[in-house]
Structure formats: C-alpha cells, structure tokens
C-alpha cells in the first residue's frame, strides 16, 4: 500500500464573498512519491475546482509555487509529503504578502523592489557585438554565480521577520541579485546601485536573522550576500568620510 489518506487544511479566501480567510479541509489519497503540489492538483481536478494557486514547472525552477507548508515557506513542487511529519498538512499563502485569493499572493511590492536595484549589467561603455564576448574566467564567474541562482520564489521574504515588520525593506532576494551584478566582472554599476542598497531600507534593515538562507531552495544565501554588502558599504563609508579626496 503506497497510498495514504492525508488531510490538508488549506487557507481559502475569496475577496468577492468573504471578509477574511478561513481554513478548509480536504482529504486526499496521496501516492508515496507525491509532493504537496500533486495533492493540490488532485484537489483542484477532482474535489474542488475553486481552489486557486500558482504553479507551472513542477521542477523547482519557475518559482511560482511558494507557499507556507506547516508554517514553513516551501516550494510545493519540492515539498515531498513523505518528508513531512505525519498528520494534517497545513497549507497557507506565503507570509508577509497580501493575499489576493486562496494561496495566491500579491507580488507588486517585490517586483518594484527588484526593478529599483537595477539588476542588469551596467557596462563602462557599450561593447560592440563585433568585439565578441567578454573574457570572464571561471574564477570571476564563481564570484557571483551562487547569487545568480535565484528563482524569485520569495520564500526568503516569507521567512524574513524584518521584511514582515518593515515592509519598506528591500529584502533578501533583491539584495542578493544586486550583489550578483556588483560582483560580475562585466559590470561597473555598483555605485549606482549603492544609492538604493546603502540606505536604511537597503542592507541596513537586515539584522542577519539568516532565515532567508535557511529556507532558500536554491542555496542562494542572500544572508551572506547582504553581510558582504554591509562590509563593503562600511568600507565605502570610511573611505568617503575619512578620505574624502579619494572620492572620484
């Protein structure tokens, strides 16, 4: 017998008819190798077509299916039911984001923040195509590679208490991405990004809780990126204020 009956308690919210979310329970016959997303699809297909959630790739790369599973932010397509403690499984939309409907949250805030950190190569000067690719050694690639793995799943935002308490905080993923471009040998845009990063709402709102890195499904380690940026920003500050002549 590889099938198990498991109860899922899912937070539901329909803004058209309800004023606040409520839990609804579903009993699902789960296969041994299922992830939570499979169970949600089972519910949607056979029990209740009105349940709404985002998903697409089912392989932990599109970043759509983040949700709170037993209170932990997880990708539901990577959350194996067999790895969860026996008993009822509680599914909620990601913390710290407004609920649009059921398990779907509003992402506007993150999208604005992502844009604000200028996450693209800002070269010293435009390189013509005829000059071919830049040279970038494996060593230079490794400098930023880890921070380029972010799938924007926002589990880190749901885990970061400082983002929950201070929504103005730019937050882990956007900052990790900033760091990624700052460290790229092709990029010369760090000074521009510092205008956003070196503010109170930037790296300084982070108190190194580290929850972001613990929940990150792609080992991006935003917490590490932010600490590195704090160190660099501190060095900047001392250079600017103690050796003003060094400012260009």
């Amino acid at each position: 017998m590889s099938q198990r009956q498991i109860t899922f308690e899912i937070l539901r919210y329909d803004p058209e008819t309800e004023t606040e979310p409520r839990f609804q329970a579903y009993c699902v016959p789960c296969e041994e190798e299922w992830v939570v997303l499979d169970a949600l699809n089972y519910i949607k297909d056979t029990l209740d077509g009105t349940l709404n959630y985002r998903w697409s790739c089912h392989m932990a790369v599109c970043g759509s299916c983040g949700m709170m599973i037993n209170g932990e932010p997880m990708l539901s397509c990577k959350a194996f039911i067999r790895d969860l403690p026996a008993g009822t499984i509680k599914v909620e939309p990601l913390y710290h984001f407004p609920i649009e409907r059921d398990l779907v949250v509003v992402l506007d805030d993150f999208m604005d923040k992502l844009e604000s950190v200028k996450p693209y190569v800002i070269p010293k000067k435009q390189r013509p195509i005829e000059d071919g690719p830049y040279k970038q050694t494996p060593k230079q690639l490794h400098q930023y590679q880890q921070y380029s793995m972010c799938i924007n799943c926002l589990l880190c935002y749901a885990a970061c208490p400082q983002y929950g308490l201070t929504p103005e905080f730019i937050g882990p993923a956007a900052l990790a991405l900033t760091h990624r471009y700052n460290l790229d040998s092709r990029d010369k845009g760090r000074r521009q990004r510092q205008e956003v990063v070196a503010t109170h709402e930037g790296v300084w709102e982070c108190s190194f809780v580290g929850a972001c890195s613990e929940v990150c499904p792609k080992d991006v380690d935003p917490a590490g990126a932010i600490q590195q940026m704090k160190i660099a920003s501190t060095a900047d500050w001392y250079l600017e204020h103690l050796m003003p002549w060094r400012r260009s």
């Binding site: 205008e195 070196a198 109170h200 930037g202 300084w204 108190s207 704090k230 501190t234 001392y238």
Partner: protein, 115 residues
C-alpha cells in the same frame, strides 16, 4: 532614499562581535568564576595581583580595547533587539545605548590610566 550612516556604528559592532566571540567567554570564566572562587587567593592577595596585572601597559591597552568593543557591540545589538521587541523609538534608544557604552568606555579609560 538617503544613504545610511549605519556604517560607523556597524563597523564597530562587527569588530566587537568578533573580538567578543574570541575572548569574552574565557574572560567571564576568569573574572566571573575563577576569581570569586579564589584564583588569586584571599581578597588582599588578589588585590595585589590584580593591581600588578592591570598596571602592565599592554594589559591596559588590550583591556581597554576589549571593553570598548564589547560595550559598543552590546549597545548596537541591543538597539536592534529593542526594535525587534517592538519598541520603535529608535532615535531615543540609540542615544541611550550608545551613551551608556560611551560613558562606561570613558570610565574604563580614565580608570585604566590611573594605574
């Protein structure tokens, strides 16, 4: 958004955190546990030895460094912690904790110089 001035205090916080991590546990062990347990003998004897130790210029410098960084580290972290506990009057808190750290650093400095 203006750039933050946090780097001044944060730099000292980070340095303090590192120094504390290496030395504070053993110092507590020595001065908080072993000393009261009579490491240097009865109070009179310990007075003698302590005065001798503290008069050493190297010890003075090291001790002041540790105290200053520990106080600063603690002050800054406390500022954040108070915030984490939901007290949002950051400016007031900052003045209080940094003031406390500054005051005790000053006392330590003056006292150490007197030996």
């Amino acid at each position: 958004m203006a750039k933050s001035n946090k780097p001044i205090v944060w730099g000292l916080f980070a340095a303090g955190g590192t120094v504390c991590a290496f030395v504070i546990p053993v110092m507590i062990l020595i001065t908080g546990v072993l000393l009261p347990l009579g490491l240097f003998g009865p109070p009179e004897a310990s007075y003698e030895s302590m005065t001798r130790i503290v008069s050493n210029p190297v010890v003075k410098i090291v001790l002041f460094g540790i105290l200053f960084l520990a106080l600063w580290h603690a002050a800054h972290r406390l500022r954040i912690t108070v915030h984490d506990f939901g007290i949002r009057n950051d400016q007031l808190v900052a003045r209080a904790v940094y003031g406390f750290a500054g005051l005790f650093s000053l006392i330590a400095l003056v006292t150490l110089l007197s030996f």
